[in-house]
């Protein structure tokens, strides 16, 4: 029943720890203008706008989509806001795509952003709450016991996490938009990095970034014409999926949450994928702490439980491996929270469109964008491809 939808434009900011040179609106426009330019459109061509970001407390603006409607020439149009925790960049892109798939709009602009330097992310994420016991662990403190559980279950070599960090930071050197450009990081150096939350070292941790990612989504007619007129390959959306589960309950599996497994299974089913490891050419997955790469490889069903670390160790997930993971450098190199999921979705589309420049993986026919949030409980994924679904 759903109409076809394709990504016809992608644009992102240069991400860094503090974009003092632009306002929030300016940051968003930088990504949006690049996305529109790559789609050969202007703001006047856009029918509807879908904005995503993580908690409003990060910048101190309540429901900033209202104010940003001006910066995006939204007046007279539908402007919609999504907020689903860390997965928000992914779920925002999905909600935007559904505006097209529903047959309501032909050209939809979506943007995810975070300007973390405008506020204090640690404060914003740790305010004392009136009705419950705060965890106050920070994200690293929250996730490190889960990583320890993974390690104790499957006994991978202790350097696999550091390998992920080295790979992602090397990939980021090929990505001019990435926040961290760390020359000369080796496995030895990574293993000497200070331990923050055992077993997560400083180098295995995502940065705090300012940044935005924007996508232009179009219906089949518009996408066909765009591809014919410009010769630019578009990225067809083959499938989208979202799943959520509670943060905690007795016996909850947190290393490989059921919501993530169900979300991936739904994605593969909708996309007609029977063997993900063979059929997927590139993956942009949400890895804020290095060990989540092997954990998510298993959760997504690329390999059986306990085998994910073997792929990482064998170099299968390197940019020239058979299943490249995070050729952009991933969340470990760039993390404007509200944009991070959309960067994954957008980078997956860029791989299909052949727009990834130096970090382009050759011959990508199908790529996956993945995002998660909360206590590993909110999942959003999409599958994009060169051919129409």
């Amino acid at each position: 029943m759903a109409n076809r939808c394709a990504v016809i434009g992608v644009g992102q900011t240069h991400h860094t720890s503090c974009r003092a040179d632009v306002s929030i609106g300016g940051l968003v426009r930088e990504a949006v203008d690049r996305a529109l330019e790559s789609a050969h459109l202007t703001l006047a061509d856009i029918d509807a706008i879908v904005i995503g970001k993580a908690p409003d407390m990060l910048e101190g603006v309540v429901m900033p989509e209202l104010w940003l409607a001006d910066a995006l020439a939204g007046h007279g149009k539908p402007v919609f806001r999504v907020h689903t925790a860390g997965s928000v960049g992914g779920s925002t892109a999905i909600v935007a795509a559904q505006h097209v798939m529903a047959g309501l709009h032909r050209r939809v602009l979506t943007v995810g952003f975070e300007k973390q330097s405008d506020g204090n992310a640690m404060w914003a994420l740790s305010v004392p709450i009136p009705f419950g016991m705060p965890v106050h662990a920070g994200a690293g403190g929250y996730f490190s016991p889960i990583v320890r559980t993974y390690i104790s279950r499957y006994s991978p070599p202790n350097y696999v996490g550091a390998m992920v960090a080295v790979k992602d930071r090397r990939n980021a050197l090929k990505n001019p938009y990435a926040h961290l450009h760390e020359e000369g990081l080796t496995l030895e150096k990574a293993m000497e990095s200070p331990m923050l939350w055992d077993p997560i070292r400083f180098v295995e941790t995502c940065p705090s970034s300012d940044g935005a990612m924007a996508l232009v989504l179009a219906d089949e007619d518009t996408a066909d014409r765009h591809q014919a007129d410009t010769g630019q390959q578009v990225a067809w959306i083959h499938a989208t999926a979202m799943r959520s589960e509670p943060t905690m309950f007795a016996g909850r599996e947190q290393v490989s949450p059921a919501a993530g497994e169900m979300c991936a299974a739904d994605l593969w089913r909708k996309g007609g994928i029977t063997n993900p490891a063979d059929e997927i050419d590139a993956v942009e997955m949400y890895v804020p702490f290095s060990w989540f790469e092997p954990m998510w490889l298993e959760n997504l069903g690329f390999v059986p439980k306990g085998e994910g670390w073997r792929l990482t160790e064998a170099g299968v997930t390197d940019i020239d491996g058979s299943l490249p993971v995070n050729p952009s450098g991933g969340v470990l190199s760039t993390n404007p929270i509200g944009a991070s999921g959309m960067i994954r979705f957008g980078e997956a589309a860029m791989q299909v469109m052949g727009l990834a420049g130096e970090h382009q993986v050759p011959d990508v026919r199908k790529a996956v964008g993945h995002a998660y949030g909360g206590g590993s409980q909110f999942f959003a994924m999409w599958l994009v491809g060169k051919d129409k679904p």
Partner: protein
């Protein structure tokens, strides 16, 4: 072209002047009751969507607690909007149009009294030039009311008439129940609070929660004897800059009403989300509604009780209830966000 989607059941909790309940305690009973009203099991819900505002809870990711209220196990298909539950209903309606769900539950919690709401909503404005001046949400609304009065679009008497009717309707509404009836002259004799607004022109901050069950086509017919079909729904936004657009009209409400297919001569009931009395007059005019033909806010609207982030979805529940009961055939449901009616969502509901 579009798929037929209807409201088949809903539940609200009685509004409170101030509740100590948590998000989960507010939401769990209304979700349970809405499902019971619609005759739907929790595990049969195809899509869940929630509307709320972190700043009102004083907590980032405050909506995460609601996933507990839902009972999201086994895992569910779920999303959240930072805003009124009516926008969550819009996201669900889009999901129906893609064919990905046949049923949905949309819910919202509005604990307006947990913090200084007038200041919190001020933070919706331009953080560089407006919010630092702390005009207050009611201060900004007063500027709009002044522009409307000076422009001859409304009168203080017309505002008082809206208030008198809303107070009476609120007293009669079992979910509100409070209020003290007053004549227009009595209201006009009261002092201004934020001139030209009087205290009674400002929606009373209240705490509440609402859940609405949606279903498509045959499923809706199975679940409800008289589904409230969503015949049209649309939302639009205006510029936020007060000096950049006319404050004496609501362009976005007019566009949304047009796209939603509001045919004024056929609307029996309109539930309008007007947090300030003069805004009801602006909305009525923007949508071309005729108060002599259409009953405006028979529930009392948002003046007797304004549970922010739930108040818009409450309008949908109220409008649908009248269609379910057969006391109306066609109704308008409306929700607004932002300063001076910046964003407006309008839907037309119809019974068969």
């Amino acid at each position: 072209m579009t798929r037929n989607v209807a409201i088949v059941g809903s539940a609200q909790r009685p509004f409170e002047r101030h509740t100590q309940l948590t998000t989960v305690e507010l939401l769990a009973p209304v979700i349970r009751e809405a499902l019971a009203n619609a005759g739907l099991a929790r595990t049969e819900v195809g899509f869940w969507c929630h509307g709320s505002c972190d700043y009102m809870s004083g907590q980032p990711f405050s909506f995460v607690a609601a996933v507990d209220a839902i009972g999201a196990w086994p895992p569910i298909v779920e999303s959240h909007v930072e805003g009124d539950g009516a926008l969550a209903l819009y996201e669900a309606w889009i999901k129906f149009q893609t064919g990905e769900c046949d049923t949905a539950l949309v819910f919202a919690n509005g604990k307006t009294t947990a913090g200084p709401i007038d200041r919190i909503l001020t933070l919706q404005m331009d953080p560089y030039t407006m919010a630092p001046l702390w005009p207050g949400a009611s201060g900004v609304a007063a500027v709009q009311a002044r522009a409307c009065l000076d422009g001859g679009v409304i009168t203080e008497r017309a505002m008082a008439e809206v208030v008198a009717r809303s107070i009476a309707a609120g007293i009669a509404n079992p979910l509100v129940g409070w209020g003290e009836a007053a004549t227009v002259d009595e209201l006009l004799a009261r002092p201004h609070s934020t001139a030209p607004l009087r205290a009674h022109d400002i929606g009373l901050p209240a705490d509440g929660a609402v859940a609405v069950v949606l279903a498509a086509d045959d499923v809706a017919r199975r679940l409800s004897a008289r589904p409230a079909w969503i015949r049209g729904i649309d939302h639009r936004i205006d510029t936020q800059r007060l000096g950049a657009h006319s404050l004496t009209e609501s362009a976005s409400a007019a566009i949304a009403a047009h796209h939603a297919g509001v045919a004024a001569d056929r609307i029996d009931v309109a539930e309008l989300h007007a947090p300030f009395s003069h805004q009801e007059l602006l909305l009525t005019s923007a949508m071309g509604l005729d108060p002599s033909r259409t009953a405006i806010n028979p529930s009392g609207g948002a003046l007797p009780a304004n549970p922010q982030m739930a108040a818009g979805l409450v309008r949908f529940a109220e409008a649908a209830n009248r269609i379910h009961a057969g006391s109306a055939d066609r109704a308008v449901a409306h929700s607004t966000s932002g300063p001076c009616l910046q964003q407006n969502l309008v839907a037309v509901l119809e019974g068969e």
